[in-house]
């Protein structure tokens, strides 16, 4: 006979909230008592309802008890537009009841008695108490509230019911004594970044399991709440060895300049240049090499996909055909008012969904413009680029710079180093005639041509010519970008 000393792992109640179970490494613990705390409007009620509806869709039962809040009918109207909400599950699977009368007539003991009765009568495995602040205001002392939570905890454990207590608070209020007795505390808050605001969730305490520490952004849409686990905390996989194989740049002369190969798979290349220096055209030549076996993804914030196709076509690049065949995909988003992690997950999902081996991010400014970038910059990019490497794509990161005449990366040396294995600098000389140049800043683990090349744009596409070729071919040059 053998016996194991290992304690069996605790049963989990998945929340069904995208991203949240990743933060708690699997969901809430069954029979646990959790506080969801936040300012009014932070999203507590939506979150709790989303968890309830997910739970009952798996065949469970839930009770939603309010102490003092909007009427239930009004609440249903507000939730009606959310994808998770289903009026048909009320009251057969979820019962909404008010505990205000019990609180008024019997104090916290009255609420405890009511909850115990409802948990058993409804055979609920999940109970929400919305309005803990009312309980707190009705407590005769701090001990009274402690006793209330302690009794709920004991009963929850006995009947196998998980309990969510929703509490309003002031953003700066400290964790109070009664909270330390619960199994977990989730704080929902809204952070201001100048004129922009971002919703954040933090797991302050979670007994019995590891969590992803720190702030995680979330948004509320018609789909309900989606949490975006902070990239640096969530993605910690090693990127593995970088590519043994390369994919062509699509630009005549550039592969030779880069040591006879193009961009290595599983690496990131920074393409740095002033507006008009040819970054976008260079990137379009790269994605124009897409094949069904090695598809391409263009993740952009600037020009629309239609306009990019039009630009490409003007250089003889068959982008429309590639889009139609599914070898090339464009994902476009508005510049500004985005959440940093949301963008990152959207990008990574697009790479995974398309299986892209050629990825263009146009450009880094779309990430820099987000509210949270300033405090996370290099660590965020380190995680993002590691994940892109892990996915095995050759990624071009287009970076804008301020000075048209001198290569001046918009990132610090540390940022740039974390971000890319290779750097291509593009710049412009204006005079009687505008001239564009390209030089290779670095290619990790490769011998490459360190001379500067002239970028020539023509109806036949883009080519790079080193100094000895440039004179003879300059008559074919057209002004185009």
């Amino acid at each position: 006979m053998t016996s194991s000393n290992k304690t069996p792992s605790l049963k989990r109640i998945p929340t069904g909230v995208p991203g949240l179970d990743e933060i708690t490494t699997g969901g809430l613990l069954s029979s646990g008592v959790y506080i969801f705390q936040g300012t009014p409007g932070a999203g507590k009620t939506i979150l709790a309802n989303q968890i309830c509806f997910h739970h009952v869709r798996q065949g469970g039962h839930a009770v939603y008890l309010t102490l003092l809040s909007e009427s239930h009918a009004r609440l249903f109207q507000h939730l009606q537009g959310m994808a998770f909400f289903d009026l048909g599950l009320i009251p057969s699977s979820i019962t909404f009841i008010s505990g205000f009368e019990a609180l008024q007539s019997g104090g916290l003991a009255g609420v405890t008695a009511l909850l115990r009765g409802e948990m058993r009568a409804r055979k609920a495995e999940l109970v929400v108490l919305d309005g803990l602040v009312m309980g707190s205001l009705n407590a005769k002392s701090a001990e009274d509230l402690k006793l209330f939570i302690s009794e709920l905890q004991a009963f929850s454990a006995l009947v196998g019911c998980t309990m969510l207590l929703l509490a309003s608070d002031h953003p700066d209020s400290p964790v109070t004594a009664e909270q330390t007795m619960v199994d977990g505390i989730f704080k929902l808050r809204e952070r201001a970044y100048g004129p922009m605001r971002e919703r954040n969730l933090e797991v302050m305490k979670f007994r019995g399991s590891a969590t992803l520490r720190g702030n995680h952004a979330f948004d509320i849409s018609d789909d309900g709440i989606t949490v975006y686990p902070r990239l640096e905390a969530a993605l910690r996989h090693s990127p593995g060895p970088s590519g043994n194989r390369s994919v062509g740049t699509g630009v005549e002369g550039l592969d030779d300049m880069m040591g006879g190969e193009g961009y290595a798979l599983g690496t990131v290349t920074g393409i740095i240049g002033y507006a008009g220096a040819g970054r976008t055209v260079l990137a379009l030549h790269f994605v124009a090499q897409a094949t069904p076996e090695e598809p391409a993804l263009y993740f952009g914030f600037c020009e629309s996909p239609d306009f990019l196709v039009q630009i490409g076509e003007s250089f003889g690049l068959p982008l429309k055909q590639l889009v139609n065949s599914g070898s090339l995909s464009f994902v476009w988003q508005q510049f500004g008012e985005n959440m940093l992690d949301q963008l990152a997950y959207r990008l990574l999902k697009a790479v995974q969904d398309t299986g892209a081996k050629r990825v263009v991010i146009d450009g880094i400014g779309g990430f820099v413009a987000t509210a949270a970038y300033a405090e996370r910059g290099s660590s965020f990019f380190a995680s993002l680029t590691n994940e892109l490497r892990r996915l095995g794509a050759a990624t071009l990161f287009l970076m804008e710079e301020d000075d048209p005449s001198t290569p001046s990366p918009p990132l610090t040396t540390a940022d740039l180093s974390a971000l890319s294995e290779s750097v291509l600098n593009l710049w412009v000389q204006t005079g009687v005639k505008t001239r564009r140049f390209l030089s290779i800043g670095k290619i990790r683990n490769r011998v490459y041509d360190q001379r500067r090349g002239k970028l020539v744009l023509s109806n036949h596409g883009l080519r790079v010519m080193l100094a000895d070729q440039a004179t003879t071919d300059s008559q074919n040059e057209v002004s185009k970008d």
Partner: protein
């Protein structure tokens, strides 16, 4: 003037309905759940019960069934109120006289009450 019994666990609802129906000249009694309502019905015979469906201790369906089985109140008019769909209350539907989907406006409520109470 009729005697109306409002049964709802949401205090904001009972207070609002109580105010409006008293203004209309009705005699109003309130209970916050089915169990309390039943104990009040032992000493009081309303013309109409306006009950919520989802309540603690005893819900509107259980209250309606018990009331219909009692000799004293079997013929009382019952209006069921709920934010849920009426389709989800099918088991008790034959036992009540009207359904009001919350939130409802005062005209809808008064129209139903007048209809059931035979008032002009």
């Amino acid at each position: 003037m009729a005697s109306i019994f409002i049964v709802d666990d949401e205090l904001s609802i009972t207070e609002a309905l109580s105010f409006i129906l008293s203004e209309e000249g009705h005699h109003v009694v309130v209970a916050n759940n089915g169990a309390t309502a039943l104990s009040k019905l032992a000493e009081f015979k309303p013309d109409l019960i306006l009950t919520d469906f989802m309540m603690p201790r005893m819900n509107g369906a259980e209250l309606t069934r018990t009331v219909r089985q009692s000799e004293q109140h079997a013929s009382v008019k019952i209006v069921m109120m709920s934010g849920a769909l009426e389709a989800s209350l099918h088991s008790v539907k034959p036992l009540y006289d009207a359904f009001l989907r919350k939130p409802f406006d005062i005209d809808t409520l008064l129209h139903q009450l007048h209809r059931l109470l035979g008032e002009n």
